[in-house]
């Protein structure tokens, strides 16, 4: 029997606000344990939460960028469960009336096929604290710095049918929140986290199969692998006559498997109810339009503009805009060096290769945009050849020095002085009388040998066009 996989994703984004969602503590939460806490986020009796307005602004912007309808009235609810890193015994979230519903994103697959993925809703909530289980021999240590850090949860429809579709959707969503500046998108550190609901069903069947929820996938690669593994696991269970159990499974990156999260199997009963401490939120047209006015250019629009304004092929525009930092870098270079396709080639070629090798982000690249523009300018001016430029580039990448400085220090200027090149040509011809005879006998191919020798003698610095011409002239005279 052939099965079809059905995937829905829940994405949590930590918002880049200054303060937490319901109190004034820092939302950066990186410091010493329990220093970013106060009576509100510690859940002390008698305290009251007050909503951070910027959290709503960011949620509205994300909702607009992902084609949602924003609810005029929305409400906060309590999600009740016990865990040591949840000091109040409930998480403030949204349930019946989230801030936004009915969104979608269009993704593009490697086959070129385009597909629309529905998004059910976006809601705002607070993050929980962090439990450390192995620091103390006889207890679990709890750090509440992360408690109350604002999150938006973006819940997709079960519209994805392969691991590739899931990864493309995630990449697109992550790119958008980074473009918006509402989330840093860091999967490894958990500021952009993804849970996947996965079920399979026989091809043609309408009803959904029983789903498993996958957690703990902190990179796109792991999302891909975990989903692929889970599809095979479920197929094997069904083919062996077994039944899928509804459960949470954790991806184990070391073993490359998903494993049941035992102990938490007890059916959840969150007993959601409206939080009496927080008043209803009303978002009117004006507020929505204000936030719409603050939206930056989004990836799809930027891609189209790169094609239109910079005459880039669709492929280049797609690659460059798939990461805002690359797109920004490209545009900074193009401002100073006006041949966009050349810039695109260097960024997608040499620069990306080195950054990928070092697993480095373009923000930390030692070659600043103006330095790359200056390097390309040196080629155009004839100061260095394209080949030498690649060597200078490697040097710049490693040292952060400017191209002109490296060229000067290492004496790499292209020699375009006729006299100097002529001297080398003469010397080379003199040293190789046999080859000169061969040329005169009609063997034109030796010309290449002479050019090679002269370039070698000049350490690659002679202007290749001039070398060619001079040798030709001399041999024919």
């Amino acid at each position: 029997m052939n099965y079809e996989v059905v995937i829905g994703l829940e994405v949590h984004c930590q918002l880049l606000t200054n303060s937490k969602i319901f109190c004034s503590c820092s939302a950066a939460f990186g410091g010493e344990a329990n220093t970013d806490t106060c009576p509100v986020c510690l859940g002390m009796p008698g305290t009251l939460p007050v909503l951070n307005k910027n959290v709503v602004n960011y949620a509205i912007r994300t909702a607009l960028a992902t084609n949602h309808r924003i609810n005029e009235s929305s409400r906060f609810a309590r999600k009740n469960y016990f865990y040591p890193d949840l000091p109040k015994g409930y998480q403030i979230s949204q349930y019946e009336l989230p801030i936004a519903e009915h969104g979608h994103l269009d993704i593009e697959l490697s086959s070129g096929e385009k597909k629309r993925i529905g998004i059910t809703r976006i809601h705002m909530e607070e993050d929980a604290g962090k439990s450390v289980h192995d620091a103390s021999p006889d207890g679990t240590l709890v750090n509440f710095n992360r408690t109350g850090v604002p999150l938006i949860e973006i819940v997709s429809e079960p519209d994805m049918r392969s691991a590739e579709e899931a990864v493309e959707y995630l990449k697109k969503l992550r790119n958008i929140v980074i473009y918006l500046g509402v989330c840093d998108g860091n999967m490894e550190e958990g500021s952009f986290r993804c849970d996947a609901n996965i079920s399979i069903r026989p091809v043609g069947q309408k009803e959904l199969g029983t789903k498993a929820e996958l957690k703990n996938m902190n990179s796109f690669r792991f999302v891909q692998k975990a989903i692929e593994y889970e599809i095979l696991r479920q197929e094997n269970v069904l083919k062996g006559g077994g039944e899928i159990i509804q459960e949470t499974r954790l991806w184990d990156a070391n073993k490359g498997v998903t494993a049941s999260m035992r102990g938490k199997e007890e059916a959840h009963d969150y007993r959601y109810f409206p939080d009496p401490d927080l008043l209803p939120l009303v978002v009117d047209e004006k507020w929505i339009e204000d936030e719409r006015g603050k939206l930056p250019e989004l990836p799809d629009a930027k891609r189209e503009r790169f094609m239109r304004e910079h005459n880039l092929p669709d492929y280049d525009a797609g690659v460059l805009t798939a990461d805002k930092a690359y797109a920004d870098y490209f545009e900074s270079v193009v401002k100073l060096y006006k041949t966009p396709k050349t810039v695109s080639n260097w960024i997608m070629g040499e620069l990306t290769r080195r950054l990928n090798e070092d697993e480095k982000s373009i923000e930390n690249c030692l070659i600043k945009a103006e330095d790359l523009a200056a390097l390309l300018g040196l080629i155009d001016k004839g100061t260095i050849s394209g080949n030498i430029a690649k060597k200078v580039f490697q040097d710049m990448y490693a040292s952060g020095k400017k191209a002109s400085v490296i060229v000067k220090e290492k004496g790499l200027e292209q020699v375009s002085d006729t006299g100097a090149i002529e001297a080398i040509v003469d010397k080379t011809l003199e040293a190789n009388p046999d080859q000169v005879e061969q040329f005169k006998a009609g063997k034109e191919k030796v010309l290449g040998f002479f050019v090679g020798q002269v370039m070698k003698e000049s350490k690659g610095k002679a202007n290749p066009g001039m070398v060619n011409q001079l040798i030709r002239d001399k041999l024919k005279s």
Binding site: S24, E32, D36, L51, G139, V142, R271
Partner: protein, 95 residues
């Protein structure tokens, strides 16, 4: 609708309460009385009434996104029954 003893035990478990047989018996009675009382409201016709979750007609109460904190770690941990290295300490969650 009558609440059963099993349902009372489930609610107790969700609240991490351990009830004796006698307490379960008493709570079941009490809870049923409370529910009966609340059910009087069902006698009203609420067809044209919006569900209300707040008694005051106020919306949109916000804080500006300004970070400020003068709470010390000592104050944070002052009421903790147990703490270690600046963290709250609880019985081991994972063995």
């Amino acid at each position: 609708m009558k609440l059963t003893k099993e349902e009372v035990n489930k609610v107790a478990h969700l609240a991490r309460l351990e009830l004796s047989e006698e307490e379960t018996e008493r709570m079941t009675g009490d809870m049923n009385n409370i529910l009966d009382y609340i059910n009087k409201l069902s006698e009203l016709n609420t067809d044209n009434v919006e569900p209300t979750c707040h008694a005051v007609p106020v919306t949109n109460v916000f804080r500006e996104d300004v970070q400020r904190n003068d709470f010390t770690i000592e104050e944070a941990l002052a009421n903790a029954p147990s703490s270690e290295e600046g963290s709250f300490k609880v019985p081991k969650v994972i063995e």
